[in-house]
Symmetry: C2
Subunit: 149 residues, 2 copies
């Protein structure tokens, strides 16, 4: 099996096709990684979350790493890695961007239930406010397998 | 959908069933996350790699976070998070542990090809030495969906 780097276009195409990735953040060099749904558009990744550990972490250190992949089999996969910067889409500064994120993410609507359900389980609070954030892409690289004849 | 914490036994059972996870490390608070195959046994995760960015990072900061999951559907999944400490299985100190890791990981043998193939692609070197390392579990938590009648 041979592995090669993907082009920027291949990276972007994958990020448009898949809607679940893993986001890693770090505080005082303690890394933290969780699965998360996202939407990609024009060098930005958009996310939905509720308050909690990853948001606390990214508010204090906005440098994040996002990984997404398509694994068809051990010999047939593509993986993309994004280094980027966390930007919380708070009102009033980001009212329009927040609405845009909401619309983009509504296309993977089932996954919205997850963080809300989790937070409600922990807090018993039915009025939890969803948070939206963006990751501005600083660099993007990918690897993929090459099928050989 | 309801989400609940998993027991330690459920976390361990998942880590024994799955063989691919994501490992996050961090250097100077720049996180880095990549997919990786592993084997779990007795509060340790065992890994195979080649030299490269993640190994450089973990040698300098041994605090890592490993995430693994089983996603059947958006409403049916379990995710486990491990905080742990990187220990490189170098000889002669860890000769026996390294052999043990090799044996455990050989059960997911196809995945071994991946890092070797990648490094060869980059370096043209056919004599790359595989590296083995262990992550000693410091804490382990999990979440899973609860099916409701």
């Amino acid at each position: 099996m041979r592995i090669t780097s993907t082009s920027l276009k291949e990276c972007e195409d994958l990020l448009r096709r898949v809607s679940i990735g893993r986001i890693a953040c770090s505080l005082n060099d303690q890394p933290y990684v969780v699965p998360i749904s996202f939407a990609y558009e024009a060098a930005c990744l958009y996310f939905f979350s509720t308050a909690g550990k990853k948001i606390d972490c990214m508010r204090r250190n906005p440098r994040v790493c996002v990984q997404a992949d398509e694994i068809v089999s051990p010999n047939h996969w593509t993986s993309v890695l994004v280094n980027g910067t966390f930007v919380e889409l708070q009102e009033p500064q980001y009212t329009e961007q927040k609405e845009h994120a909401r619309q983009l993410l509504s296309q993977t609507a089932q996954w919205w239930l997850t963080p809300l359900a989790e937070r409600r389980e922990h807090t018993g609070d039915l009025a939890i406010e969803p948070l939206f954030f963006r990751v501005d892409v600083v660099s993007m690289t990918g690897l993929r397998t090459v099928s050989e004849p």
